[in-house]
Amino acid sequence: MAKLSSKSWGPLHPQTEQTDKLARTELPRERQLDLYRFMKLTRMVEGRLGNLYRQGKVVGGLYSSLGQEATSVGSAYALDPQDVVGPLIRNLGTMLVRGVQPREVMMQYMAKSDSPTGGKDANTHFGDISRGLVAPISMLGAVIPVMAGVALAGRKLGKDLVAMTYIGDGGTSTGDFHEGLNLAAVLNVPFVLVAEHNGWAYSTPTSKQMRIQNIATRAAAYGIPGETVDGNDVLAVYEATRRAVERARRGGGPSLIEAKTFRMKGHAEHDDAGYVPAEQFEVWKKKDPIERFERHLLGNGLATEEELRAITADIDSRLNAEVDFALASPMPPPERAFEGVYAEDAGTGNGKGGVV
């Protein structure tokens, strides 16, 4: 019997040429500090969630974006207020940039009554159209055509908005990735898809997911621009997304951006990622997006160590209040289980699982 040879198409996780140097940007200092704040906030919120998890306060699984903060934050920061985004479970940074409060996410993870879904759904699975947020479903890929529809509606309504969502390397194998991107391309809607290529889909390396090295290659199949960027360089992600967003807004149609990054934890908190070769962690540890950005800020005189420390301290103290608030929320009343299956009126989400 012939042997499978799915390992023979290159390195386990092909990397872009990543140096410590970050991409060029015109972003002023204040906005660069914003990026720093959001990345740091993301990591620290996840730190708090990790604590809550270890204290047994989190219901169900906990998902982390450790090491990938630049991808979520950089891409979301390229959006304008009227834009709409559909973050996945590893895009906490995106949600925070869009104005989601840490307490909201904490309450979601703890299944609390005051969580945005009132306890009906878990983790980052909540949305609010008034804040430009669409909740995905667990089935990977499914939100891609949905966001294409958001983009289409934006154009039809003359809203000048761009719709954006994400997909992992694993998620690119779904039928909806193909159908959604193809439909978006044919309809020429203002849509940006950010593919987070972090080398793994749960325990499955990219080499078993696809026979190509770069997800951006797939853009050509849809006649749209595709670009591979260093996903651990927040400026590179920002700049590439910004270009795609601007092109989309000008009527240039969808783009596919591949951000090469790395998942520094297991698939979820329960997973020790024993299947990931230790050297991959070592290599990528050196490319930590926050530390790299710190070096950039310091090295280019954009911030001092004290300023960065102050940002961290500020976040830290504000997170105390967030955790306290979230912990204080009760569990939802049982009757709520029976409410809100049907909408009585159409309308944009109230973010309350039909509870309100």
């Binding site: 089935m139 499914a142 949905v146 439909l183 049907y342 159409a346 944009t348 989400g349 973010g351």
Partner: protein, 324 residues
């Protein structure tokens, strides 16, 4: 007013809703220049333009997904499945995205997914399906299956105006075979309400779609036997009009659920089980189902005739139950 076909009634509903409400638009395969495989949208492209009549690639999952996204932004998309059988390719979007969305995070998903369903046209296994039973287990969906032109028009308008995702099953056997005058005005028909299609005293037949006409014909034939059938047309499959179902059973105490579905897992089973749970004291006999056998829809006319319920089969069942 002129009599119009079931198909024309559907066309009118779509046309009128598009005229009245800018938010309504359509996605489908070959619905533009071609006017749809069954010509339901003939003339729409000329009137409403390519931004509102969108020919899509062959991507049922993306079509429904795209509609979901657009509906969240306040639009009212209507998706045409070229044949409703192809909705299987968008099952995940229907059941896991559209249906539970409002419950999950409070965002309504006002979409309509419509298309030709049903057999008796020798379409074989993939152009004859009745999809209701695959979807009635999805909380958050509504399902509508009209049997008459007036209901087709009134329910389709109601579906488009409904804030929830609605699966709208048109029976293609009826498209050009059934005609009637339509009511003036909107003629809205509320979703969730069955219609007593025939009052009778002895035995109730609960049904919908093409089978309604079988039931009515059987009723005529059974008059000679002195059996007076009551016929309830469900019209809405989800949510079921349980009150109307129980009311007819309380009245006649004998009931046959007649549907063009394979027996197992049918909506007919759901109806029968509600009756046996909630109208038990009124029953004078078993709740009988007359459905199709548990096979794919066969192609050849001789086989499909054996497969489908018809007037003869119903009359026989009625006689049997009447003498229980």
């Amino acid at each position: 007013m002129a009599v119009v076909t079931y198909l024309e009634a559907i066309r009118q509903a779509l046309w009128e809703e598009m005229e009245q409400d800018e938010r309504v638009f359509m996605l489908g395969q070959d619905i533009g220049t071609y006017g749809g495989a069954f010509r339901v949208t003939s003339g729409f492209l000329e009137r409403f333009g390519p931004e509102r009549i969108i020919d899509t690639p062959i991507s049922e999952s993306a079509m429904v997904g795209c509609a979901i996204g657009a509906s969240m932004m306040g639009l009212r998309p209507v998706v045409e499945m070229q044949f409703i059988d192809f909705i299987a390719c968008s099952f995940n979007q229907m059941v896991n995205f559209a249906a539970p969305n409002h419950y999950r995070w409070g965002q309504s998903v006002p979409i309509v997914v419509r298309g030709p369903s049903g057999g008796n046209v020798h379409g074989s296994a993939f152009h004859s399906q009745n999809p209701e039973a695959f979807f009635h287990h999805a909380p958050g969906l509504k399902i509508v299956s009209p049997a008459t032109p007036a209901d087709a028009r009134g329910l389709l308008k109601a579906a488009i105006r409904d804030p929830n995702p609605v699966l709208f099953c048109e029976h293609k056997y009826l498209y050009r075979r059934i005609k009637e005058e339509l009511p003036a005005g909107d003629g809205l028909v509320p979703i969730g309400k069955a219609r007593l299609a025939r009052e009778g005293r002895h035995l109730s037949v609960i049904t919908w779609g093409a089978m309604l006409h079988v039931a009515l014909e059987a009723a005529g034939r059974l008059e000679a036997d002195g059996i007076d059938l009551e016929v309830l047309d469900l019209r809405t499959i989800k949510p079921l009009d349980q009150e109307a179902i129980l009311a007819t059973v309380r009245k006649t105490s004998r009931v046959i659920v007649l549907t063009e579905e394979q027996l197992t897992g049918s909506v007919a089973g759901e109806v029968a089980s509600r009756i046996s749970e909630h109208a038990f004291p009124w029953l004078d006999g078993p709740v009988v189902r007359l459905c199709c056998p548990d096979t794919p829809v066969p192609f050849s006319p001789t086989l499909e005739e054996a497969y489908l319920p018809n007037v003869d089969k119903l009359v026989a069942k009625v006689r049997e139950l009447a003498s229980y």
